[in-house]
Amino acid sequence: MILLDRVSKKYGRVATPALDRISLHVEPKEFVIVVGQSGAGKSTLLKLLTREERQSSGKIIVGGIDYDKLKDKEIPLLRRKIGVVFQDFKLLPNRTVFENIAFALEIVGMGNREIHHTVPKVLDIVNLKGKEKRMPMELSGGERQRVAIARAIVRQPKILIADEPTGNLDPKHAWDVISVLEKINRYGTTVLLTTHNQEIVNKLQRRVVTIQHGQIVSDRAKASYKL
């Protein structure tokens, strides 16, 4: 599903690369947790996968698409196949909760009736029923996080990337979010989760990839948190 082959990323003229010859293979339907301290290169890895940044060298193939052969015009199509929960949510400030989630469906040209049928279901999954008409500004951090998750999963993507989705949540809500991710994973979506939360990592008992100074230092199945 996701294949990285000796991928490096250097920003501008900074001497040390953010990612240094990383190789990673994620099977379809896998649930992978990426851990590492801030600045280790986790975010850069995710940005390369969404083609927000371009790798300096190495090969990236996601869902059969070779990023080197990707034309500008095809980048939106690629992004529509990947659901992303951004660390800073990235909600559209001028749109309601409903419209924010609906936006993900609008851009693929889905009709209004179908959208009005689909969005409430997802709102139910993330426990936001009744807040459809709120603006992002009026929501708590945890609620915004859940809107971001709802938007990422509403298209039922084959791949879901979640960047610190529990970062702003209290333990109860954090577990709600994780259980949503597990549910989606059970339905067949490949999940890539980055987190700092030791407890979550230990409890999930999934594959854990540890990044340090831009390199993968360990890659263990059914592992617990270790730095």
Binding site: T50, R51, E52, E53, R54, Q55, S56, S57, D72, I75, P76, L77, L78, R79, R80, V84, F86, K90, L91, L92, P93, N94, F103, A104, E106, I107, G109, G111, N112, R151
Partner: protein, 314 residues
């Protein structure tokens, strides 16, 4: 409904909804556009009015040819016919000795001494041909023609385009030339400045919302799905501003008519300006709309471009 149609409808409605939700941004942008469009419209009308005033002044200028009493009808008719063939001659008018005398007497009816100096029996005034030129800058052509020996023989005096009168006419011509060029120049300068200001305003409005653009980009929206609503919004700014600016000028003329006693402000003939505005109302409105829409659309397309680019650096 096809997907394209759904998308197109969404772009329009999203643009309209954004317009309503970003009220303050819209008001600020429209205010700037109204001011600049009004200045352009005002300079257009002022220019047309000055042009009209200049036309009125220059239409009073003609070249008079004074004929000797010995010149017979045949010669006069021949001269009139020849003059009409000159490229720079718009029209010619023959005034006989009697007509000139009547005119002189009626003009000086209140001054007995002047009127008495000329009598029917001893009429010193020459028959005159008045030539209306097409282009005041080319009066020399007519003068050259008149000073040919054969034609000079028929004349009792130099034509009116000579000496002090020539100097005065040349000065007026020169001044009106400069005025007209300055008018066109002012309209162009105001138009260019307005375009730049409106451009900048829309760029700022979009800069304020650059996060929205990048978020939509990250979610996989196509270029036109992101840009479309902004273009719609900017076109709305343009349309509303154009209507307000035309309405503002209209109410200004209405107010001027009811409160101002004078019909002109210095050189500016308000009556003519109002008439010109009324006569060209739809053209001017269409022009304003076109400018507003074009600038709105073009500047929003250019302004969004920057935030929609994909990273190319490796």
């Amino acid at each position: 409904m096809s997907r394209k149609l759904v998308t197109f409808r969404r772009i329009i409605t999203t643009g309209a909804v954004n317009f309503v939700r970003n009220t303050w941004l819209a008001i600020a942008a429209i205010a700037v556009m109204v001011v600049t469009l009004t200045i352009v419209l005002f300079s257009l009308i002022t220019n047309a009015t000055f042009t009209n005033t200049i036309k009125q002044i220059t239409s009073k200028i003609d070249v008079s040819v004074y004929l000797k009493d010995t010149t017979n009808k045949e010669q006069t008719d021949q001269l009139l016919a020849d003059l009409k063939k000159l490229p720079n001659v718009q029209s010619v008018k023959y005034i006989s000795k009697d007509e000139i005398l009547q005119k002189y007497l009626s003009e000086n009816a209140k001054n007995q001494k002047l009127a008495g100096a000329v009598t029917q029996t001893d009429n010193p005034l020459p028959a005159t041909i008045q030539i209306k030129p097409r282009d005041l800058n080319k009066l020399e052509d007519i003068k050259d023609y008149l000073s040919q020996a054969k034609i000079a023989d028929l004349q009792s005096d130099q034509p009116s385009y000579s000496g002090d009168r020539k100097e005065a006419i040349d000065k007026i011509t020169h001044a009106t030339n400069i005025l007209q060029r300055a008018g066109v120049g002012a309209v162009l300068v105001f138009a260019v400045i307005s375009v730049l200001i409106i451009f900048n305003t829309i760029q700022m409005a979009i800069f304020n919302r650059r996060d929205e653009l990048t978020i939509m980009r990250l979610l996989g929206a196509s270029t036109w799905y992101i840009r479309g609503p902004f273009v719609v919004e900017s076109i709305l700014y343009g349309v509303i501003s154009a209507v307000i600016s035309v309405g503002f000028i209209h109410s200004l003329f209405v107010a001027a008519r009811s409160t101002l006693e004078a019909t002109s402000l210095g050189l500016l003939d308000i009556n003519y300006a109002a008439e010109y505005f009324r006569g060209h109302f739809w053209t001017l409105l269409a022009l304003q709309l076109l400018v507003g829409i074009l600038i709105g659309a073009a500047s929003s397309i250019v302004a969004t471009q920057r935030y929609l680019k994909f990273k190319v650096h490796r």
